[in-house]
């Protein structure tokens, strides 16, 4: 069964081709990681999936409906968090569900109790229930990103898109944020797209991997197919082996497996 269907997706900005005839199908509940160097089209792919950009050619079907403009069942998490610094973590979380209430009730925070519990529940999922009343601006980068995840969850989406959610975080916070993202996605049965450029984190958290280079899809496969050769192909001639060793034991074992196959 297919949940997301991308067919011949091409996106051009003037003369620049950001995405070139990308096609794939994703069944519901998969945790997909999009890999590629900067400028390979990862962000463009996610922004097109979210409806923020419209495709130049091709089509995106999510749950059988074409994705033309942003809609509530597709939530997005951004590299720069994009939460509202002047509001508390709770208000930010609550703002994910404004599409279910009118203008005045959302501005004055007059939503019903169920909605407010949902916002707190989302904060609990990302481990920030205690910090609910804190101003978002005063939180650390990792915490801000978790508020961003909470906001996306309150939206009650079926698809979660994360555009390099950990690129601006230190390694520790990056691990945390990815844990929370993975947990939230598993608990709520969300189909998740996450673009990353840390290969070690990608291997640890992903089910399925889509590799982009110069806007073209060059790899699409599951974890056991993601060999060092594939990584080399994606990232060019860099010392990728170091990335595998730096990971914890679990990933190391897998790397060895990959190496032997």
């Amino acid at each position: 069964m297919t949940y997301i269907e991308v067919d011949g997706l091409t996106k051009r900005f003037g003369d620049t081709v950001a995405l070139d005839d990308v096609s794939f199908e994703v069944p519901p509940g998969e945790f997909v990681i999009v890999l590629g160097v900067s400028g390979s089209g990862k962000s463009t792919l996610l922004r097109t999936l979210s409806g923020l950009l419209s495709p130049t050619e091709g089509e995106i079907l999510i749950d059988g409906e074409p994705m033309i403009e942003p809609r509530p069942d597709v939530a997005m998490i951004f590299q720069q968090h994009n939460i509202i610094g002047d509001m508390t973590a709770y208000s930010n979380s609550l703002s994910g569900g404004v599409h279910r209430s009118g203008f005045l009730s959302s501005v004055l925070q007059l939503q019903d109790t169920e909605e407010k519990h949902r916002a707190l529940d989302a904060l609990d999922t990302v481990g920030l229930l205690e910090e609910a009343e804190q101003k978002a601006r005063r939180m650390s980068g990792g915490q801000q990103q978790r508020v961003g995840i909470a906001r996306a969850l309150v939206q009650q989406p079926s698809v979660l898109l994360a555009d390099e959610p950990v690129a601006s975080l230190d390694p520790g916070s990056a691990q945390d944020v990815m844990e929370y993202l993975r947990t939230a996605s598993d608990d709520r049965d969300l189909t998740t797209f996450c673009s990353l450029h840390q290969v070690n984190i990608a291997r640890k958290f992903g089910h399925r991997f889509i590799g982009l280079r110069d806007g073209k899809k060059v790899f699409d496969g599951y974890r056991d197919e993601l060999t060092i050769d594939v990584i080399d192909d994606l990232y060019g001639d860099i010392d990728t082996e170091g990335m595998f060793v730096s990971d914890d034991g679990d990933a190391d074992a897998e790397t060895d497996e990959v190496a032997t196959t």
Binding site: S50, G51, L52, P70, R71, P72, D73, V74, A75, M76, F78, Q80, H81, N82, I83, I84, G85, D86, M87, S95, G96, G97, V98, H99, F103, S106, V107, G148, R151, A152, Q155
Partner: protein
Amino acid sequence: MTTDTTESDGARGSAGVGTDSATDPPNRITEQFENIKQTRRRRALGWLGLFVFLAFTTLQAFAATELLNPDARLETFRESLVGFFPITDYFGVIPFLDVGRYLEFIREGGLLYDPEIGGLLFQFPPNPADIYAFFFLELGIFQIFGEAGITLAMGFVGTILGFPFALVFGTLGSERVTPFPFNFIFRGTMSFIRAVPAIIWTLIFIPFLGLGPSSAAIAIAFDTIGNLGRLFVDELEEIEDGPIEAMRTTGASKPQIVFFGMLSQVRTAFIAWTLYIFEINVRIGVTVGVIGAGGLGYVLASQQNLLRFTNMMATLLAIFLLIISVELFSQRLRSRLRSDDVEMSIWELITGFPRRMADSMLK
């Protein structure tokens, strides 16, 4: 290695040529020297021309302002200055500024304190009925400050009434909210309001509300729409796209995107600008008072008509005190709101006062 030596030889050779011909520099040097000389001469001529033009224009402007043959009356001016700064002899011998006469007028004219209203609040033992009357019957919070209170209230009411309109016009005037040609409906309206100074708006509202603080307050409110709204538009140009995109992906409606994605980014800035406009509005309150709208400005104008210069100076001192207090209050609050704002020292507040007063006269 061989190439290295030839190169350094060559360099030495050319340097040698340079020293040899020091008495008679090569052509390219003299050429460049002539070039520079000519450029400098041309520039000097340009400056001279500009100076002559400016002098000539200034002369014409002097003629237009009748400063060429002014009707100067030094004697009258000297007399008025004596009025402004009354001198008394302490112990019959030491001449000194008679501050007592200022204080006397400030008290008699009720410039800073209205004893009739204040008497309700300050009595011993306190009378609950009078205190109730002060707050709820006489509504005396502003009136207790006498004429200064009226001026302050004009600025306050003007800011409060103008703010919601400024918010609506400022938001709708932003290109991100209203698409390009249509946002100019709102920007244009604000430009028109700004083009007319507050003092003229007061004249326009006199037939409606009569000559008094009420028409002044409405005029200041109008002025606030133009000025504060413009500041809001400018502030909205600075915001980041991120939160707007984030709100779009939540499936929020257009007004919700504007409120959560845009306005929540500029909330602190908007409060700070509003306080700044309040500061200016109190100064405008003084200015419009001069044409008869009441408050300290009116006292100033009427004392001037009576040629009571000492009283005029006393009123000026009261104005000074009022404006400085408002500015101190607003500056402190604003610098607390936006920590990156540089705090103005008390000295700057006092020395910069005449310029800011002049600026707000023109608004």
